[in-house]
Symmetry: C2
Subunit: 250 residues, 2 copies
């Protein structure tokens, strides 16, 4: 049942199995800026707090709190959301292992959103202040930091353009396909996918109601594109699902 890639017999200094290896993390260029001497690496690590943990439902940060860090998910799932004027949750996104959360800390003094763990989460924390202090010393970081943020920006655009103007069923399909791609480092063979979030979260993310989410999943199942058992999904053919969502080959 262990789906972790190449995890056997890690040296003692390297953190144990589970979670995502640093090399596969979005944060890689930040955590381990290239061209760093061994001593530099050691010092740079001062601005990283590794292997912190959250239990299900625990908050990583909340609106109003000073925004001093960027976080990298190593295992588990985070949800970030804002509150609308009416107090409704507007889910910004779900954040899987290898992904970054809280990049706004680079631009804002205070958080304007919330981040909570949907399940047990392991993460690294990078304190922005410290990192910025190191910036003048590390040329690769100077280039990678803007690039990382810009990549999120581009991804966000694509995402947003899809979310609007897609009929509910396709929107759900796109969501599942996207999630499958991002989790477990690409679509898993069997197509097994365990959702960390409940229907309400999905609805608040996609901008529709839980009923419509449920019905959409049901329809996708009837069409043979999906097997739904609560939060446990199976994706027979990932390509077909992606194509329905318009992420296919044109």
């Amino acid at each position: 049942m262990d789906t972790t890639p190449h995890s056997a017999a890690a040296p003692a200094t390297v953190p144990p199995r589970s979670a995502v290896a640093c090399a596969e993390c979005d944060l890689y260029p930040l955590c381990l800026p290239r061209g760093l001497s061994r001593e530099q690496q050691a010092v740079f690590c001062n601005c990283i707090r590794q292997r912190r943990r959250l239990g299900r439902g625990e908050v990583l940060y909340h609106a109003g709190q000073p925004a001093r860090s960027i976080y990298a998910v190593r295992s588990g799932t985070l949800k970030t959301y804002m509150l609308s004027a009416g107090g409704e949750e507007i889910v910004e996104g779900f954040h899987l292992p290898g992904e970054l959360v809280g990049l706004e800390a680079l631009a804002q003094e205070q958080r304007d959103d919330f981040a909570v763990a949907l399940e047990a989460v392991e993460y690294c924390e990078i304190r922005v202040g410290e990192m910025l202090r190191w910036l003048p010393k590390i040329a690769s970081l100077q280039r990678d930091l803007p690039a990382v943020v810009a990549r999120r920006l581009a991804a966000g655009r694509r995402q947003a353009s899809v979310h609007n103007r897609l009929e509910a069923r396709r929107r759900v399909a796109a969501f599942i396909a996207d999630l499958a791609c991002r989790s477990a480092r690409g679509p898993v063979a069997g197509g097994e996918l365990k959702l960390g979030m409940d229907r309400r979260d999905i609805a608040n993310y996609l901008g529709m109601t839980i009923e419509t989410v449920s019905r959409s999943l049901h329809r996708l199942q009837n069409e043979g594109l999906l097997k739904v058992h609560g939060k446990r999904l199976a994706i027979p053919d990932h390509a077909v699902l992606a194509e329905l969502a318009g992420i296919g080959s044109a």
Copy 2:
């Protein structure tokens, strides 16, 4: 009628009136990194091509083209859009004086979207390659560059969360209010606003049809929130409009 701040008696070397002063530009921290000696400024300007122009309908860049520059609008309006699988325009945004376009160049080799001028446009071009070469020399730029990108990221999030889950009329109201805030450096006294884009562009931006845009504008006019004369709008009370859009005081 001259609303440009502190513009009197500029030295001969400074570009003339019209357009946005550098100090009000999003790009300010990039164009004129702080703590630069006069000579450094001169050299840094090598990566900036100033005061370029586009006529109405001309393209700044298009998908597939190498992404080597970031652009700052100085006057006029740019539209950026992607093409959906079906060949439909998906408008990402409208870009007014003082705003940046094409930040994705920091992360991607190629453009995946299009940028065209909706009217005569004056802009500056920053060649990313050159800028990155200067990065190690300019500490302030090292900090400002990620911050600028992150600010856009945060703004995009807020935007997206509003765009979904708002009824058509409010969505249009939000669009107009936003545009009014951004243009002419904040809501102008009389509330006069000249739209650079046509109804189709607005529809493709907001994810609805031109008919619904038209009807929404009409309704907003009936309710006294707007005066519509083609592309010429008048906003009697900007606060009321913003409140309807949910950007009000809670």
